[in-house]
Symmetry: C2
């Protein structure tokens, strides 16, 4: 369970207890909440709880054309790598960052991100952390990520040639529309280090915070799960629902119960 | 100028007069407004005005898994083909239609649309109408179009093998994020039969109705124009801005004036 699914109601400490109480086997942690509790204390509590950590959300945003801004983002990414190592997370979720209105140059922006990713290889190897390149929906290209397709994530992994430290996160919500999704999942193969589920509602009303519960939308989630498993992925399946309109308004225990039911019936 | 840019304020008759008054050389017509005025009357007025018709918006939506629904959509598409012929439009804009929550099968949906497009070839040839396959933004996959990339439009054109009646419409707003946009525009070449401009605002608030005026967003419009022209396109450039938040609230004459300025400075 990604913590964001119950974010408005539970602190990280409450989420750890709540998920254990409901028999959920793993948690994905948001860094804001991690910093609230303290990284060492969070690591201690999670280890004590028996929960696995499917991911840390998120780091990156290293696309800026401004050198000082980029250096700051790289420093923060290096701190996140340390945090992921401390929490023994399956991976660290990486968002590329957006194209900047100051230059509008998507090609140059993507080239900058790739170059900066290469500079992180020694840090990732030293910390033994897998950085999960997560393609976001094309709607995020001007706000959070110029990495818009699984194909581009695969192209970047090819170019980086460091399979030990870079992986690909597949989120059904951000990739389901892609005509090449199945062939690119197959191409990603062992690179896949995270698989996130939620649903695309036919009447989606917000670009980011209106994700649906699995089964309530139009995504053929079981088909994408089969594709990811056929590619060799055997790790955790993470439920990540940003829902200002619906699920964030409900009681967290109810949300976890519905997630568990839908995980059986619609994933 | 696409009529939709000033849709809340002007009827089609007013739009024809208004665009002529401002020295705009061409109009793209919405079918709802065309039916209000009457197709023959609209054709007569447009011919008399000297305006060219850059497109008719829109037809298609032939993706349904329901046979009766699909037959109805095909009938309507055939009516639109007749309308485009009567108006001597540069092309007729085709939207594929959405994936259906009833089957959630994107691959089958896309195959159905392609098969139904093939069935329209005789109608298009008889009417001498160019059907412009327009990729929409991936946000529209569950509402208006499973044709999500220029690559898929090119693949469909390859499969249809009827270059005389199928073309590709390039809209910067729906395609700018695509890592393959430049190579697929080059591949489209002479297929390009429409080029639509507007801008993606960094703080976009609506999935469909929050387009920006050229220059106010993050799209490198001149670069895409150069790509389209390098591919051989010499036709009209159409300004299509759906803007419930801003431009639809302003006086139509003011909007046309700003469009003309920005067409010089930002396209």
């Amino acid at each position: 369970m990604n913590e964001v699914t119950v974010l408005p109601h539970w602190t990280l400490a409450q989420a750890i207890n709540g998920l254990v109480r409901h028999g959920v086997p793993a948690i994905s942690v948001w860094r804001e909440r991690l910093h609230e509790l303290g990284v060492a204390e969070a690591a201690r509590r999670i280890a004590g709880s028996g929960l696995k950590v499917s991911g840390i959300c998120f780091t990156g945003m290293i696309s800026s054309p401004d050198v000082a801004e980029a250096a700051q983002a790289m420093d923060d990414t290096r701190r996140a790598i340390e945090e992921a190592a401390t929490l023994k997370s399956q991976c660290l979720i990486f968002l590329a960052g957006a194209v900047d209105a100051r230059d509008k140059d998507l090609k140059a922006t993507r080239a900058r991100v790739l170059e900066r990713l290469a500079a992180l290889i020694p840090d990732l190897r030293a910390a033994k952390v897998k950085l999960a390149l997560e393609p976001l929906h094309p709607t995020a290209c001007a706000t959070r990520s110029v990495l818009s397709t699984v194909k581009l994530a695969n192209d970047w992994c090819d170019a980086l040639a460091a399979e030990d430290v870079f992986g690909v996160a597949i989120d059904v919500y951000t990739t389901w529309w892609d005509p090449e999704i199945e062939s690119e999942i197959a191409r990603a193969g062992k690179r896949i280090c995270a698989f996130h589920v939620s649903d695309w509602l036919a009447d989606t009303q917000d670009l980011r915070l209106d994700r649906g519960m699995m089964g309530d939308g139009v995504i053929d989630i079981p088909a994408l799960r089969r594709a990811v498993e056929a590619a060799g992925y055997t790790g955790l399946i993470e439920v990540e629902i940003f829902s200002a309109r619906n699920w964030w308004k409900r009681d967290a225990d109810e949300v976890v119960q519905v997630v568990k039911q839908r995980f059986q019936s619609a994933v």
